[in-house]
């Protein structure tokens, strides 16, 4: 605990030493500290070490984030052209910021009722208990009309991070959800387990069709009224590492466009 002006009860500068190093002391206290340092080798050494710690931090290089920033800007301008027309990709990111740390990989089973309702009602932003929503629209470059990517970030009802991408065109309407964690296969309701690619996928028996699988660090849930579309979407999803949430979401957007629009 420091005394008045950062001077310790023992008469040494204490907190005033850092303020001295930063040039943040009033003139009277500064003069006192300077005078004290001239006769106190211990405080002189402490001030020197504090100055070194300060210099070390101030000497840390600025990180060149150009690849990150340019990638972010490019994704916001993404336009996908299909034949003579354009496709609209709507992306919703429902996530807490940086919420997926290495120690947070809960064993989980997705709330299938909520995710299905979100898909059917196209109301991801209004799902029960969501705490905040940030939505951004990104316009196509001049001359290219009819294409857009919309994003939002949210924290969902139960504190679980959820990222959702919704792909729509005239024939297909698919929602893909990602949640960081390990899928608790045992906790899934009765359904069918199919092999899609190299991975097992749980398929629900109701409508719309729901598929749940593990893809890398992510539990992936796909919902659509069209079963082939569900399987196509599942097959198109990669082994995601946890990484930056938005990177995964934009990656999902790209892959859905590729499998449905470009290859479909």
């Amino acid at each position: 605990m420091s005394g008045v002006g950062g001077i310790g009860p023992d008469g040494h500068p204490d907190e005033a030493l850092s303020a001295h190093v930063d040039g943040e002391l009033d003139p009277v206290t500064e003069a006192w500290v300077v005078e004290h340092l001239e006769r106190c080798p211990g405080c002189r050494r402490a001030a020197q070490e504090l100055a070194e710690a300060r210099s070390l931090l101030r000497g840390l290089p600025e990180v060149d984030a150009t690849p990150v920033i340019e990638g972010f800007l490019a994704r916001h301008r993404r336009v996908v052209r299909i034949g003579a027309g354009f496709v609209v990709v709507a992306g919703l990111v429902l996530a807490a910021i940086g919420a997926t740390t290495a120690t947070e990989h809960p064993r989980l089973v997705p709330d299938l009722a909520v995710l299905t309702a979100g898909h059917v009602e196209q109301a991801h932003g209004e799902m029960v208990g969501m705490q905040r929503q940030d939505r951004s629209s990104y316009e196509a470059p001049p001359g290219l009309i009819g294409s857009a990517v919309a994003l939002s970030r949210q924290e969902v009802w139960d504190g679980t991070d959820l990222a959702a991408v919704v792909y729509r065109d005239g024939d297909v309407d698919v929602s893909v959800y990602q949640q960081p964690g390990r899928l608790d296969w045992e906790a899934l309701p009765p359904g069918e387990v199919a092999l899609v690619g190299d991975g097992e996928v749980w398929l629900g028996r109701g409508m719309p069709v729901v598929a749940v699988t593990q893809r890398g660090d992510m539990v992936v849930t796909v919902v659509s009224a069209d079963r082939p579309a569900v399987l196509t979407a599942v097959a198109g999803m990669p082994e995601w590492r946890r990484g930056a949430t938005w990177d995964r979401v934009h990656d999902a957007c790209q892959r859905l466009v590729r499998v449905f629009a470009l290859e479909g």
Binding site: G6, D14, E49, E52, D64, L73, G98, T101, A244, W246
Partner: protein
């Protein structure tokens, strides 16, 4: 990837004191390194820093409508700090379950993160020491030594008394000194 680091000095950026309000893309392009660096020093993790930067850019996009030309970096550091502290608060409310070790889940880092990590290799002991500070000390230290804010600006930005700023910076630096000894 490594750049010469200038002494932090909010006010020396190209938009400081400029009457024109930059566009969102100009902020992203010209101040992206600054935002990312502050985000990385605050979070201590490249994945979290990327998420934080993207969240900051979303907030910047909304906030530019009401931004008053002045200290752009001061404004950006405030947004970055607030977004970081919002996340810290959310995390503190969220239960976490440790994941058992599973080598199959260890996937390679993204190229962006790998590049950034390479850029940080030399001073990583200082970065590690900074990341090891409790958040209440780390934030004012970053604002002072990475952003270059005065104690008064830090107090205003964090809405804490000036004496608390001085105390936290001092205790943060003492802890750094110990960690680096």
């Amino acid at each position: 990837m490594r750049r010469e680091r200038r002494e932090p000095a909010p006010g020396d950026g190209r938009w400081e004191g400029c009457d024109r309000i930059p566009t969102w893309e100009e902020v992203a392009r010209h101040e992206g390194d600054f935002i990312y660096t502050v985000a990385y020093r605050l979070t201590g993790d490249h994945d979290d820093a990327q998420d934080l930067v993207q969240e900051v850019l979303v907030r910047v996009q909304r906030g530019l409508r009401t931004y008053q030309p002045g200290s752009l970096r001061g404004w950006l550091s405030r947004i970055t700090t607030n977004a970081f502290l919002d996340d810290v608060r959310r995390r503190s409310r969220r239960p976490s379950v440790a994941l058992p070790e599973d080598p199959d889940l260890v996937l390679p880092p993204s190229p962006d993160a790998a590049d950034a990590a390479e850029a940080e290799r030399l001073p990583d002991h200082a970065q590690a020491a900074l990341a090891g500070l409790p958040e209440e000390f780390r934030v004012p230290v970053v604002l002072a030594d990475v952003v270059g804010l005065s104690y008064a600006d830090i107090a205003e930005q964090l809405d804490i008394p000036l004496g608390t700023v001085r105390s936290r910076i001092h205790r943060g630096r003492l802890a750094l000194r110990e960690a680096l000894a």
